[in-house]
Symmetry: C2
Subunit: 718 residues, 2 copies
């Protein structure tokens, strides 16, 4: 129990009921109370009568209203009279509710249900004659709230010094967290109590291509668990982060309290606002079962429906890539041995080839052949375009032109060849963080894509952002990401962005933004390695606001296969790699390994060929953050189901109850499981495949190896 | 004489002749000596055997070569082993010379002469195995030098911490200077000794819309004068500032020494360089006569010839503008009373007009009529497009779209009307400093210009730059200015940029970049006022690298004419306003006042109608910085001459010797001079006009009032 003084306790008791508004969820289990205490706004949250979130403060601190000498304004200390966090009285309240069903263009279920009660409180600040609105939406799985700034005489433009939305928990909780950083999410998750975060913080990060850490703060989504006889799972995140910086969470470890900490730009400003405007939603998902948290669609529900008039070009895509061989170091993105190239001057045909350029006509055709033979829709090729010789680490603004291929990449021939085989190539636009340069080229680049028949692009933002005043998660850069998505829509192009900001439900508004990286993916197995429990945390964190392009499917997990003595390895069994296609929702779904490795295990590869990427239904059968995830999904427009189960560094058994199948029907399952002696370190490629007939009454038992898993495809039999 | 120790003196003597290279100007009057002293590079300059510039150091300090964690690199202290300023040995020297005549597209003379001797010294830095080149060009009017960075194994990318090119004068000198600022040149010139600069510095600036002052540093071009029996005039500036930040000059007042100080970005970096690369030229123009300094074309000569294939669309332009009435406050740029508009949402037709919007159909047609009747080529209209209601001071990125007119501005009708009268409208693209937004709209905006028949645009950059990490004179922003000029060339559009970086001769390379502001112009007479000597300094400073759009021609100098009690006034006589059209070289030439004021003085207005804007010849008859300028120019392709004379706050007499005219010919002059009782404060509108016949043997005497002048148009008689 945290320490509070008797006086503070009595004081807080005094104000209960005075100037307080109460809101309940549709099923009545959640209750949110809003109140002003001496003009300062607070909210709390109860679940089944018990306090989940104690009285927590709300508000924002502003810079003196945007003045001519703005740069010098930033340096001045805070002056509370300009802040929107005190001196309020309640002017008004409006209540509303909604219960709608909507269909995502690509999703985990055919229908998402958006059911909430809403309370909007208008607060007046008499000293400045301004008012703001705090809007609460209470769902059956938790709370979302945001600030709204109506256009008014005394509130037109302001610059945020900091948003101070607190979430004050009554007790310590277990937390799965990542260090806060304005530029990267590529860190390992830590599992500690909230109270232990500061002690662990300094050990919790490694180097990154672009990095601006915030000490003793963590990133969102953040997963928490109140342990005990009646455990409660809590997820803290945000929804609809648009034209606003992404938020991190400062930790007050002694009081189990978190507070928003927005991403600054290099000047130190945290958001340039023109009214009318709204902030992102701060979300608190709460459930007695971890599975219910993972299953929550609150973050998507809080985003606006799309205004796109045509979404027919958006489709699930299974793809392979000329990519992993560069990641592990077997080939290169660059074509030549040059260390310094000028896109508008260098004659690339005259450079000396390095002999390791993967994106060449011969190799690409081989990949096209294999991908097409095996039913994939797309082939990503990285390193196809001029500029890779010096693309990284030089703050080079004009680093790529996105349209000129290397001499050994015949863009027309290869696209025609792919189309003749029934697949499309997937474009690659690595920006090197140079967003201003990408904006200059985007129209031409998208025109080239249309010309040659590409309909999807993977973008990348490796390295510090240009404009050199911005971070990856600053307001300006977030606007850039969605400006690109909107422009891509004009060209009917789907976007998968890497090193971008984590999605917070925007796929509802921008359905062509089908995936993103924004966490440590499979590539990190070749860099520092991911912990074996990494994939059991991600669905509770990174996935909450949108799909991740995790790029799994590595069959040759040990890299000493390529480089004798190399100690790097993918820290899972082969069977677990298969299971990831189900435990992770990926409408854009990569089989990332080299064809030669799939050819050696075509029996296991069959699962990847069969698994769907778009779903009518999803059941989280069983899951515990950091431990295991067992998921079943029904392929869209079919009666086929797929089941996947994964575990962490521990062996684990699980029995799948197939009662989610239709009663009275016969199904055939193909099971892919760890071999008896499988182990992610000692024997990762040991797996067992068998078929069996089952019904909805069947149960199947699986023994997962250390960092192992199982995958099951389920088809009805006639 | 400055203090130096005996030891230092002896030491410097010792090194003369050791490891030294000497260069002479074509006429032999200048001598430059380059030497390494203990591996540190120095140069000096002599004129007619006397030292003009003492041994002055050269070199640059770098950040540790661009590394992954760049942002943290900036914060580290300098480590001399990475710098390019020590440990050199001479590897090589190359000599060259050039004597060419070239024709500027628009210019002060038909031919410019580029005549120099060149010395390029290659310096090796053994400790880092890198080499650089220092290149000197010695002209008959002074020295230019720059650094060159060849592409080499150990020098590919680097980031500049600071360039330390010194100019060390042997004695104190009179200086006409302006405070250094990364964002503005809109300050008054100060006239003090070099030694007095620090004492005067704090009093030498006022507020500005965008400002980042550099204490005890001054801007370039800087004008200097060694007084005494044999005076020497010195101009310190730079040429060809491209893909590099603009430089200011730090002052060591006790040692009469200046050192380059580059404009930083907000991170503190001063240039991101990829080899091969060259710096701008540092220029030191020296002459015994002030007139010869003003006449120097060195800065243009040091720029590259243009690569434009078609310059036929570039022409001198005399224009009027719907502008001054907004500057003085009689009308507004904005259309409505709204304080907060959203370009993509607000219906401007539904807003309440403020009744003061100048750019409306009726008024514009009146201006078109007057301009066309009086032989002008163009009419600028500001405030024609949506967004002016909240354009300034809010760091609003999407502030203008550059294509949507206000409801009362019929862009098609007005252009058709203007064309029917034989004039073109001049476009206005105020960016509000939001350069990223302007780049997004530039193609559409230029397409609109082509569609409606505009061929010239005035751009503006009022307020802090967006990207919010950059200053007006940072490398990124300078690249932006020339990126726009190049793009405008693709659309055959001429550019006149305001609040941009001062030109440093780029009109040779980008001839469509015909003018710029980048100093206090006539508009400042309505803000703080310009000192009466301001226009006698500008030709020695601001004009050295290119024309300024000074927008003179104000006949109604007292503003209490509009606003009883208003103390603002243009600090010149009317006759001086006429003279400015000759003393200032302006291929883009505005008659800035309201038609109603010209109508009251059509006799004086005749000079503005007659004066040319493009020249075959220019003679600086007599000039002294801060005191007076008397100039004669011959109109291109004609036998007509124009003469203009201006003075500062002192009355002054001057006798014009017309020996520059062709011998044996008869000419008729029309003289416009201050009336006998004219005075810029008490009686500015008193002027006298007379005609007379003269020949090349004639001399005419003029009595200029305080801040007065005279203008003469000279036509041959049959």
């Amino acid at each position: 129990m945290k320490k509070i003084t008797v006086g503070a306790f009595l004081l807080s008791m005094m104000f209960v009921g005075v100037n307080a508004q109460s809101l309940k969820s549709p099923d009545g289990k959640f209750e949110m109370n809003f109140q002003l205490k001496q003009g300062v706004p607070y909210y709390n949250l109860k679940y089944n009568g018990a306090v989940v979130v104690e009285d927590s403060k709300l508000g924002l601190r502003l810079f003196k209203d945007s003045a001519i000498k703005f740069a010098s304004e930033i340096a001045k200390p805070d002056d509370a009279k300009f802040d929107l966090n005190n001196g309020f009285t309640k002017k008004d309240e409006k209540r509303d509710s909604k219960n709608e069903t909507w269909q995502p263009v690509l999703g985990e279920k055919k229908n998402y249900i958006n059911h909430y009660n809403e309370l909007a409180v208008t607060l007046d600040q008499a000293s400045t004659d301004r008012s703001i609105v705090v809007k609460f939406r209470l769902f059956n799985d938790g709370l979302g709230f945001r600030y709204e700034f109506p256009q008014q005489k005394n509130l037109n433009y302001f610059v945020i010094r900091e948003e101070d939305s607190e979430i004050d928990f009554p007790t310590d909780m277990k937390a799965w967290w990542m260090v806060a950083d304005y530029d990267s999410q590529e860190y390992q998750y830590q599992e500690t109590k909230i109270s232990e975060i500061p002690a662990q913080w300094d050990k919790a990060f490694d180097a990154n291509a672009s990095q601006k850490l915030v000490k003793n703060a963590v990133q969102s989504p953040l997963m928490l668990k109140k342990e005990g006889k009646e455990p409660l799972y809590v997820n803290v995140a945000e929804a609809a982060v648009l034209d606003y910086p992404a938020s991190h969470l400062e930790v007050d470890a002694q009081n189990f309290k978190f507070k928003t900490h927005l991403t600054a730009d290099r000047q130190g400003a945290k958001g340039y606002i023109q009214t009318p405007s709204v902030t992102p939603w701060r979300t608190i998902i709460v459930a007695p079962k971890a599975e219910e948290v993972m299953d929550s669609k609150m973050i998507f529900n809080l985003n606006e429906p799309t205004k796109y008039t045509d979404t027919s070009y958006i489709h699930p895509t299974k793809y392979m890539g000329v990519w992993w061989e560069m990641i592990i170091g077997k080939s290169q993105w660059a074509y030549s041995t040059a260390e310094n190239v000028h896109l508008d001057k260098t004659d690339f045909a005259k450079l000396t080839p390095n002999g390791k350029h993967a994106a060449n006509n011969t190799k690409v055709k081989e990949y096209i052949d294999f991908a097409a033979e095996n039913g994939f829709q797309g082939l990503l090729i990285e390193g196809w375009n001029i500029g890779w010789e010096d693309w990284f680490g030089h703050s080079k603004e004009y680093v790529f032109d996105f349209i000129t291929p290397y001499p050994d990449f015949d863009i027309k021939m290869l696209n025609d060849y792919a189309h003749s085989k029934g697949i499309k190539l997937i474009m690659h636009h690595e920006t090197s963080g140079s967003a201003t340069n990408y904006e200059r080229w985007a129209d031409k680049a998208f025109e080239v894509m249309n010309k040659y028949g590409y309909d999807a692009v993977k973008t990348g933002y490796v390295g510090d952002i240009i404009p050199r005043g911005e971070h990856h998660y600053s307001q300006w850069t977030i606007n850039h990401f969605y400006r690109i998505a909107e422009k891509a829509n004009q060209y009917k192009i789907m976007v998968n962005s890497h090193e971008s900001v984590r999605p917070t439900g925007e796929s509802r508004t921008y359905p062509n933004y089908i995936s993103a990286e924004a966490a440590r993916g499979t590539e990190y197995e070749a860099f520092g390695g991911n912990k074996p429990d990494h994939q059991t945390v991600l669905p509770f964190t990174r996935w909450m606001g949108g799909s991740m392009d995790y790029t799994p499917g590595i069959f040759q997990t040990k890299l000493d296969y390529y480089f004798p003595g190399d100690k790097r390895f993918v820290k899972t069994t082969l069977a677990k790699q298969l299971a990831l296609y189900v435990t992770m929702y990926m409408p854009l779904q990569m089989a990332a390994d080299l064809p030669e490795n799939y050819k050696k295990h075509m029996d296991a590869f069959q699962f990847i060929k069969d698994v769907a990427a778009d779903w009518d239904d999803t059941r989280i059968l069983s899951a515990e953050p950091g431990d295991y995830v067992i998921t079943a999904r029904k392929a869209k427009g079919t009666e086929n189901w797929f089941v996947g189960g994964i575990t962490d560094e521990n062996k684990r058994e699980y029995t799948v109850d197939f009662s989610f199948l239709d009663k009275g029907k016969k199904y055939e399952v193909t099971v892919y499981e760890d071999g008896k002696d499988a182990d992610y370190i000692d024997n990762p490629q040991s797996y067992n495949i068998y078929k069996k007939q089952i019904t909805s009454k069947s149960k199947l038992n699986f023994k997962m190896a250390r960092s192992g898993g199982f995958a099951v495809s389920v088809k009805p039999v006639n």
